[in-house]
């Protein structure tokens, strides 16, 4: 848990940046903005005295975690708050006009015309039943008074300008027919239709894949250069800020706690900013982590061969050979980096599980695994074609190992995870788990086996039954797998599990909605642990969470792996998370694994062109010198 000191809310504004752009010349100057939301009978403050300004043509970033009030600040300026929100005080001066003093009808001359905005999720932010052309046309006719052919020409021009391929075709299409990146481009085109002086980008790339994110950021940079408009970026991702912005304000609990120029990345002054910056997973995290975090004991626990060994000795040669052969089967050269793990000093470790027959085999061995979806047509629904979501994937996973499965959305990584657990029916291939072919199992035997493979889903908000208390959610699997355990003992085990994931045992009696996103993910982890699995498939477990929460969850997963000797199949699109957790990485594309190897090797010496493309797209924190500051 990040410890924030008592005086954490103190605002640190360095003198230079305050004097550099005088508020008089500012395009937008927000002063002492206070916003509250009604919850039952109370008003809960969301923004609490925020002041900042944005100069003409400037790019300004408002950074903070979810719930810090950054999006609320933007919506307040446009007076687009949801119904339960109220602006309690402050001013928002656009030039010499106070936006909060204008009558509602005058706001249509501001929204879209002077200030454009793009939102986080381009799918839900576009009207699903109107064509893209219609939605842009609406803005153009309103703000620019265009009609008929001129309107269409301008709309096509805009779509072309935001880099939408083949605008004439997409003009008549609906949002669901466009890909995520194209939708966000269409959204940007709508925001640009009124040729605004200020473009607010509210988490514009959070919902997008990393390669798309890079394209959209490039686009925003180009548009800003071409049109000279100011950009107000709202994000939780410092990488994005570093790409785009010249001035940064950090928000926390409704207050701006630090404002600075590019000097911010040199060394943030507020401890919270420093923590935020530190919490961001980086590609080079692994290298630092392995120096700090993983002491001998940790390495020991993660070592697949040591944990399995019965009498406290292990044939290193054999282990090494097996590793080598396992890896060469996967077509990957054994990395010398792996050898230190087999240090003799750690050989004497105690084993926790009894020896088994199949102990020599890897925990999970997948051969030529396939999940195909049929495409059916005609009156009798004959299968005319198949979607090859997972198309012949082979890999193996050792005990205590973490294999990251990386790829863009739609590459089949989630389908693969679900297929392995038989949550989706696989179409072909072999899955050996703990030495047993689980594809052939049926009924009770299969059910027992299933308990040893668990899954944690991406969205902790929707993956728990909202009408069950946490205790029941955690206990359910336990009760199904071991009906013989007495209620009293079950309760104790549930409390132990909650403690193990860092929650108080009293959480047992509460409902999921009473917890934050990070806490809910902890509950999901406890639920998965309840049946004592050997393997947990983690399907993007942190991508719905804030960076600092993400860091905590990753730390928890790491601890649990070490303490309980778990293996993870970690599905993610975030390469920085991979660096923090994975031993090996498999890169997936269009249902196939295109590259697999040691984390270090894949992240720093990728061999496949696609991997290199993925890596290049990750926004990086460049440590710019003082000259980088405005």
């Amino acid at each position: 848990m990040p410890s924030i000191r008592e005086g954490g809310n103190e605002v640190i504004v360095p003198e230079p940046s305050r004097t550099k752009t005088e508020p008089a010349r500012a395009l937008l100057a927000v002063a002492d903005l206070r916003v509250a939301f009604r919850q039952d009978a109370n008003w809960v403050p969301a923004v609490d005295g925020v002041s900042f300004h944005i100069g003409k043509g400037e790019s300004f970033a408002l950074v903070g975690e979810s719930g810090s009030g950054k999006s609320v600040t933007a919506l307040s300026v446009l007076r687009l708050l949801p119904q339960s929100g109220r602006i309690l005080g402050g001013r928002a001066m656009l030039g010499d006009r106070d936006l909060f003093a204008l009558p509602e009808f005058a706001m249509s001359g501001i929204r879209g015309k002077r200030i454009g905005i793009i939102f986080q999720d381009p799918m839900s932010s576009l009207n699903p039943v109107l064509t893209v052309g219609r939605q842009i046309g609406e803005a153009l006719s309103l703000q620019r008074g265009l009609k008929g052919r001129a309107l269409k020409a301008r709309a096509l021009e805009l779509l072309d300008h935001v880099g939408l391929p083949d605008p004439a075709r997409h003009f008549n299409e609906y949002p669901h027919q466009l890909s995520g990146g194209m939708r966000q481009r269409a959204m940007i085109a709508i925001a640009l239709a009124g040729e605004p002086d200020l473009l607010i980008a509210d988490e514009p790339t959070t919902a997008l894949d990393v390669t798309l994110q890079a394209q959209i950021l490039d686009l925003l940079k180009r548009l800003q250069r071409d049109t000279g408009m100011a950009l107000w970026l709202i994000t939780h991702d410092f990488g994005v800020v570093a790409e785009l912005c010249t001035r940064v304000a950090v928000m926390r609990a409704g207050k701006i706690i630090e404002q600075n120029g590019r000097g911010f990345f040199e060394g943030p002054e507020h401890p919270y900013s420093r923590e935020l910056l530190a919490a961001m997973p980086r590609l080079d995290a692994r290298l630092r982590d392995s120096e700090v975090d993983f002491d001998d004991k940790a390495v020991d626990a993660r070592n697949p061969f040591l944990r399995a060994s019965g009498g406290g000795t292990v044939d290193l040669t054999e282990g090494g050979e097996r590793l080598a052969s396992a890896m060469s089967r996967d077509g990957i050269k054994k990395s010398p980096l792996d050898l230190p793990r087999l240090a003799p000093s750690s050989v004497g470790s105690r084993m926790e599980r009894p020896e088994r027959e199949g102990i020599k085999a890897p925990l999970l061995e997948v051969r030529d695994f396939k999940v195909h979806y049929p495409i059916k047509k005609g009156i009798f629904q004959r299968t005319v074609d198949t979607v090859r979501a997972v198309d012949g994937v082979s890999f193996s996973l050792e005990r205590g190992e973490t294999l990251a499965l990386v790829g863009e959305s739609g590459c089949g990584k989630t389908t693969l995870g679900k297929g392995l657990l038989n949550l989706i029916k696989p179409s072909g291939g072999r899955v050996r788990f703990d030495g047993e072919d689980i594809a052939g199992l049926k009924g009770e035997a299969r059910r027992k086996r299933c308990a040893e493979m668990q899954i944690i889903f991406q969205d902790p908000y929707s993956s728990m039954n909202p009408r069950m208390i946490v205790g029941d959610i955690v206990e359910e699997g336990l009760r199904a797998q071991h009906p013989g355990i007495a209620a009293e003992e079950r309760r104790e085990r549930v409390e132990d599990l909650l403690r193990a994931v860092g929650l108080p045992p009293e959480a047992r009696l509460r409902y999921p909605h009473e917890f934050s996103g990070g806490q809910r993910q902890r509950i999901c982890i406890a639920r998965a642990l309840a049946v004592e699995p050997k393997l947990i498939v983690c399907d993007e477990p942190t991508s719905a969470l804030d960076v600092s929460v993400q860091a905590q969850i990753l730390r928890l997963l790491r601890e649990l792996r070490e303490r309980r000797g778990l293996s993870y199949l970690f599905i993610t699109h975030d390469l920085a998370v991979v660096a923090a957790l994975a031993d090996r990485v498999a890169v997936m594309r269009r249902g196939r694994i295109v590259e697999m190897g040691e984390t270090r090797q894949v992240l720093f010496e990728p061999t496949h062109a696609y991997t290199r493309g993925l890596l290049a797209a990750v926004p990086k924190l460049r440590r710019t010198g003082p000259s980088g500051a405005p």
Binding site: S125, N127, L130
Partner: protein, 325 residues
Amino acid sequence: MIGYLLRRLLYAFPLLLGINVLTFILFFVVNTPDDMARMHLGQKHVTPESVEKWKRERGYDLPLFWNAKAGGTEKVTGTIFYQKSLGLFLFRFGRSDDGRDIGADIGQRMWPSLAIAVPSLLVGLLVDISVALLLVFFRLTYLEFWGVALCVAAMSVSTLFYIIGGQYLVGKLLQLTPISGYDTGLNAWRFVALPVLIGIVAGVGSGARWYRTLFLEEVEKDYVRTARAKGLPEPRVLFAHVLRNALIPILTGVVVVLPLLFTGSLITESFFAIPGLGSYTIDAINQQDFAIVRSMVFLGSVLYILGLLLTDISYTLVDPRVRLG
């Protein structure tokens, strides 16, 4: 899409057969052919011979499902079920138990039913949606609060009260329309006006409240915020964006009942003495006229299946994301 529709029509056959069997069983669990005969012949002075004669004349002297005495295919075809129910699939309704041609009756009686039901539905829909949009436009004001309170009050009152109250107020006190009855041709409008008006008033409370919740669900969505961020004024946001999306759930409720308008309303028609299909059905049930009951149930089922098909098709028209395949 054609393939989808054909497939759905094929599904309809087993469904209709099942409905037929169920209606048949339900009816003959309660009644025996003997009961039916006594009902028609009157309770007094009925000889067993006249009951047998009544049954023979109308084909009710056969076994229900299985004719053990007959030979060959007659075992199946020589039953009440086969002879009375299967002709329905060709829309041969046959004769009612008192000898009238059911097909002709239906053809004649559906027009009064439609004259009441169609305007009630369409005008009612328009009124409900308008009231709901107004409530949403004035959301979080006292106007909305009292509007919703009024809706709740209106939907809490029984339909029967609206009918009798309306007849008393409009028909008797104000003498604007006849209290009940029907006329042929265009003169019918005087008799139609009051039931339609009452139908709309009785429905506006629940209708407007239901549509309001649909609109409110849409009005806080992200794409509506985008529409406002473009600078669109609120009425245009409501009409061009909210209404268009809320139409999708509204259609589910409306299109499915469109074909059923033919069969009319049971309560309204009997209270206003309208000679439509609703009162026809009620009378048939009261007289234990199996021939009419099974015809109306079959017709209702066919129309309902048709309604579901129409709903599917209408989805593709209002929601571009939906494709039938």
